[in-house]
């Protein structure tokens, strides 16, 4: 039995240009004209979450994440579709929503506990736990307006987690408080996970999503773009985001197929006929690889009337513009001395991590000074990795732990407490 079931959920907001239009529209003779613009915050979203799963929610601004969380929380309602949640839900859409600055921390705890559906007696029972977790100590009797913003967040989080819900919905709140408290929050969340509670967690930190969540839901334009293992989804999403930022900065002038650059020095010099990514084992075109695969770049070179030995340069540029590698054949003392040739560069055991890379090719003169022609590979290189490593490239790892002082034995640890 799924903990959260969502079927064809849609949410459409109507934006009226003028408050009058909302009234006018009710009039029977004015119904034929549409006086609003529709915004589809959610469109046909379906998924289900098994109990004990932690689901991360990723996506750009306006992708519908908050709307989805609000619907699951029960503050706003879908225009179409249905959903069902099994168990008690607590949500942290905003820390300290409902706090009144003029009341003391203690009074606000009871207020918030009541909002979460606690009876007075239950709240009394939980009070000490909340106070301990928030670490506010004596401040609890001071009005909230005297608190620092971090303290308010601490109190808010403490109250919310004290409800011990079956399903916890969290919206982008781990970015609050100091390191110490953040760690406590994450510990608490991990503890929920271990106890088999279901969590729905929205964050812009892909690292957090990867670390905390089992699965991730990628929302785009109000739709589910991908719902899968959190590592896979965050990788895909990161790739996509990099592409987006590259497009925004116009870092990939070669993307358009038609305006492929022509040889710089005209027909007389060497030119690239074609450049492809291939699987070096089979020789067939392939552009999606995993780390540690062998990647081949096949370049068809034609020399011009003014024959000259050419020097082939290949680079890998991540879509956000970071150049990750650039080599020329001259570095390895290879010059192409032919009228027409197919040059294949094999990059064995590629160590790049997830991302999409443009592969520009240059033909240079033997000294690597003059550029004859430049052209990108027909496909971009796509690397997909499935483990949790982050960054540009994979590194080999060797860890060493030198024990300077032995850990306390279990007995010692207990007596220290």
């Amino acid at each position: 039995m799924a903990a959260i079931e969502v079927h064809n959920l849609s949410k459409t907001y109507r934006l009226y240009g003028n408050p009058w239009h909302r009234v006018i529209e009710r009039l029977p003779w004015a119904k034929n004209r549409k006086r609003y613009r529709e915004v589809h915050a959610l469109a046909d979203v379906s998924f289900s979450v098994e109990p004990g799963t932690c689901v991360g929610l990723v996506g750009g601004n306006g992708a519908g994440k908050s709307t989805l969380l609000k619907i699951l929380t029960g503050t706003t309602f879908p225009t179409a579709g249905r959903f069902q949640i099994r168990g008690r839900v607590a949500s942290l859409l905003e820390l300290g929503a409902g706090f009144n600055p003029n009341f003391t921390g203690r009074e606000n705890i009871f207020m918030n506990a009541a909002l979460m559906g606690f009876s007075r007696r239950e709240a009394m029972k939980k009070y000490q736990e909340i106070l301990d977790f928030s670490e506010l100590k004596d401040f609890i009797t001071a009005p909230i307006r005297t608190y620092s913003s971090g303290m308010v967040c601490r109190l808010g989080f403490s109250v919310a987690v004290a409800t011990d819900p079956d399903v916890l919905i969290i919206d982008e709140i781990l970015a609050v408080g100091d390191m110490h408290f953040r760690r406590k929050c994450v510990d608490k969340i991990m503890n929920y996970k271990e106890r088999g509670k279901t969590m729905f967690f929205c964050s812009h930190s892909l690292y957090d999503v990867r670390q905390i969540c089992d699965r991730a839901l990628w929302m785009k334009d109000g739709r589910v773009k991908l719902f899968d293992d959190s590592v896979i989804v965050t990788n895909e999403y990161a790739t996509y985001e990099n592409t987006l930022s590259a497009q925004a900065e116009k870092m990939t002038p070669w993307d358009g197929a038609e305006d492929a650059p022509q040889p710089i020095h005209g027909e007389d010099h060497a030119r690239i006929e074609s450049a492809d990514l291939v699987d070096p084992k089979t020789g067939k075109p392939r552009n999606v690889f995993a780390p540690h695969d062998d990647v081949g770049v096949r370049i068809h070179v034609k020399n011009g009337k003014l024959y000259e030995p050419v020097n082939v340069a290949v680079a890998l540029t991540r879509k956000d513009g970071t150049m990750c590698m650039a080599v020329t054949s001259q570095f390895d003392d290879i010059l192409v001395e032919a009228n027409e040739a197919v040059v294949t560069l094999v990059l064995p055991n590629i160590k790049l991590l997830s991302g999409e890379f443009v592969v520009p090719i240059w033909l240079l003169d033997a000294k690597g000074v003059h550029r004859f022609h430049e052209l990108p590979c027909r496909q971009n290189l796509i690397i997909q990795n499935r483990d949790k490593e982050l960054g540009i490239f994979k590194t080999e790892r060797r860890w060493q732990v030198e024990v300077l002082e032995a850990a306390p034995s279990a007995v010692d640890a207990r007596s220290a407490l």
């Binding site: 168990g87 009144n100 909002l115 559906g117 089992d214 038609e258």
Partner: protein, 342 residues
């Protein structure tokens, strides 16, 4: 033609997926909390947003109140204490206000504006001041209750947006607070009246809680109605303030029915009196007057009331039930849109 990476119609690059290892979904038994029976579910196809669906089931408000009594208590507490938080006097002001109000009415209407011959023969009359004071006290309670209830949903917009809770409680708490403050004022009124010998209490005065209940239900109903309407058009708040002023003079606060009746007959339009009787607050005021009648001294008595005390209470109760059903029905039928509009 050079082929780029496969790009789907939304512009996102969508590389072919590599086979994915089965995700690690824990299969351990999940403890079910004692509250597991709370299953939030919602189906847009079957959800009831009709006015009648809710108006006819207005009694559902009571069990809801009982379930959320802790929340309601907190709301009311916050509403009441919030006013005096940071003041040195605190709740003391609740008591000072009606006492001072009475003194002012006495000075202005008992002495300053009192008919000259009366002032000459029997000295300053506290009776008219008490009459005014009781009316204004009650009227202020009603308008303040409704006025605060009206803005309660918008004022707590952040809560409505971020927290799932029965927001139909929001308009109730200012109504409760206004009535609690009224009780203090009414006690002052009765004490002053008894001391001056202008008020006599009888068995009928025991019906006072009934009157309070009617007023409470009526104010809650109107509060729910206007609070929901205010979310959709903020004009409601402004309209209400204008309306409340008119309501003040349309209610028997300053005048007594027989004065109006005389004038209406003189004008040749006796139906004006009947129109005034349609005011939902009319039986309330009449009952309030009958519960603690001023000592009759002939000229300014409130002897002419269209109904007996029981009749007035019944009429008030009917109005209260009708207005509450309408208000509750409207509020609940529009509630699902609040979070999007506040």
């Amino acid at each position: 033609m050079i082929e780029g990476p496969s790009v789907d119609e939304r512009g996102a690059s969508c590389p072919p997926t590599i086979p994915i290892p089965p995700s690690h979904v824990p299969t351990r038994a999940v403890p079910v909390s004692p509250n597991a029976d709370i299953i939030p579910r919602y189906d847009a196809a079957t959800a009831k947003h009709g006015f009648l669906d809710h108006a006819l089931r207005a009694t559902a408000y009571l069990p809801q109140l009982w379930r959320s009594r802790a929340l309601l208590w907190n709301f009311a507490r916050r509403e009441l204490l919030g006013r005096f938080r940071g003041s040195i006097g605190g709740l003391f002001w609740v008591l000072v206000q009606p006492i001072f109000q009475f003194v002012v009415y006495f000075l202005v209407f008992g002495i300053l504006f009192a008919p000259r011959h009366e002032l000459a023969t029997s000295g300053p009359s506290t009776k008219y001041a008490l009459f005014l004071f009781s009316g204004i006290l009650f009227f202020n309670t009603l308008t303040e209750a409704i006025g605060n209830a009206l803005s309660s949903v918008l004022a707590n917009g952040n809560l409505v947006k971020k927290v799932a809770f029965p927001c139909e409680l929001l308009p109730l708490s200012p109504v409760l607070v206004a009535h609690a403050v009224y009780i203090v004022g009414a006690v002052v009124l009765v004490l002053v009246g008894l001391t001056l010998g202008d008020i006599h209490l009888g068995l009928a005065s025991l019906c006072w809680p009934l009157l309070l209940l009617c007023s409470l239900v009526m104010a809650t109903g109107l509060g729910l109605l206007l609070a929901a309407a205010d979310v959709f058009a903020r004009d409601v708040g402004h309209l209400y303030r204008i309306f409340a002023m008119a309501w003040f003079f349309l209610s028997p606060v300053f005048w007594q029915l027989e004065l109006i009746q005389d004038k209406a007959v003189a004008l040749g339009a006796p139906w004006i009196t009947n129109l005034l009787l349609l005011n939902p607050a009319f039986p309330l005021f009449m009952a309030a007057r009958q519960l603690s009648p001023l000592q009759d001294n002939g000229d300014r008595s409130s002897s002419l009331v269209p109904l007996s005390l029981g009749g007035n209470l019944l009429a008030s109760a009917l109005w209260a039930v009708v207005l509450f059903s309408i208000g509750y029905g409207f509020f609940m039928s529009r509630k699902h849109k609040f979070a999007d509009l506040v």
